[in-house]
């Protein structure tokens, strides 16, 4: 079964970059453009890993993360923050909510893969039959 990775970001550009980064791996990248859509996607698809932005309309990433951690069925899903927010007090607050890792934008594909590889066993995409 391919890993399911959820990218929650209001920027289509970032979601495309995440998708591109994992195109050679046995992964399916699901997309959501705010925290509310993200929570709906988590309930529906139960991803193996979430990349989460902070500043988004409708519901921001910190609110989504807080709600996720309040849900006993979903709180163990690993979350990696992917955001331009690097203010130390905010990072410390988010870390205490319970995130697996934190990647500050700007970023390279390799960094995304390296961080995901600490959480998931990334396998090359099987050759098409």
């Amino acid at each position: 079964m391919p890993h399911k990775i959820l990218s929650v970001d209001d920027s289509l550009t970032i979601r495309m970059l995440v998708k591109r980064s994992f195109k050679n791996f046995d992964c399916v990248v699901i997309e959501a453009c705010n925290g509310e859509e993200g929570l709906a996607a988590i309930t529906k698809d139960r991803p193996d890993l979430i990349f989460l932005d902070i500043t988004m309309p409708v519901m921001d990433g910190v609110t989504m993360l807080t709600k996720l951690k309040e849900n006993p069925d979903l709180k163990t899903i690993p979350v990696i923050m992917l955001t331009a927010e690097s203010g130390r007090e905010n990072v410390a607050y988010i870390a205490k909510l319970g995130v697996r890792d934190y990647l500050v934008k700007p970023f390279k594909d390799d960094q995304l893969i390296e961080k995901a590889g600490r959480v998931l066993k990334l396998e090359p995409k099987p050759a098409a039959v």
Binding site: T13, E85, S86, G87, R88, E89, N90, A92, Y102
Partner: protein
């Protein structure tokens, strides 16, 4: 610094870069805002680069430093006000963020220029406002011809894929977000907590450096073989007082 050791330690565990020296300097300047001009000036005088920029700002008509009427930091602060020194001190973290964003995301090595020819035609203006203890805005100005270059380097997109204005705005908006987000984080680390607004992308032929209520603005011209870029910073560092 306003940042606690434990917060810095947590950031380290995530592999984040240390807070730049220029942000630490800015933190000290912000903490010293209640000081007299003389005390504030003594601190600035320890930084040669900041002193040189402040003197240049205080002598706008001078061709070079031999032409300066104002030659001391105290004199420059009396002429310009302390908020100019804060604006200039914020320039370094902003420039670092711009250089890093374009290098990391686009593999473009920008060079900061002392001056540069203005855009003569309609161009793209990406703006992110921030508000809180400091108010202001970061603006990126790019030529229309830069959009396909950025789209190709960032996402491998063909120029026709960027014909959709919403897609082009998303690409430019995300670059603005990265630059402004890093800068805002630096302001927060320096004790000026603020929040960002979503980026606004427009086409304009107005090249004027825009003012900010109660604040000052500075323009940073960049060049690379791939594209020209101007980054404007307007800030009122006293907004939260």
């Amino acid at each position: 610094m306003s940042t606690s050791n434990s917060a810095e330690d947590i950031a380290k565990t995530f592999g984040m870069e240390a807070v730049p020296e220029s942000v630490k300097r800015l933190t000290q300047m912000i903490a010293g805002r209640g000081a007299s001009i003389e005390e504030f000036g003594k601190f600035i005088a320890q930084d040669k680069e900041l002193t040189a920029r402040l003197l240049k700002f205080a002598n706008p008509r001078a061709v070079d430093q031999f032409d300066y009427n104002i030659t001391t930091v105290d004199g420059a602060l009396q002429r310009t006000g302390m908020s100019i020194a804060l604006l200039l001190a914020m320039g370094d973290p902003l420039v670092r963020g711009v250089l890093k964003t374009f290098k990391t995301m686009l593999d473009i090595n920008l060079e900061l220029m002392p001056v540069s020819s203005p855009f003569q035609e309609a161009h793209i203006l990406g703006e992110v406002s921030f508000s809180g203890k400091a108010n202001g805005k970061v603006q990126l100005r790019l030529t229309k011809a830069s959009v396909p270059v950025i789209g190709e380097r960032l996402l491998g997109m063909a120029p026709e894929d960027l014909a959709d204005p919403a897609m082009a705005a998303d690409v430019i908006g995300e670059l603005c977000n990265m630059v402004a987000g890093n800068f805002k984080s630096n302001l927060c680390d320096a004790g000026l907590n603020c929040v960002l607004q979503p980026p606004k992308i427009t086409i304009t032929d107005d090249f004027k450096l825009q003012s900010v209520d109660g604040g000052n603005s500075e323009r940073h011209p960049f060049r690379s073989p791939e594209l020209p870029l101007f980054v404007d910073l307007g800030v009122n560092p006293w907004a939260g007082e």
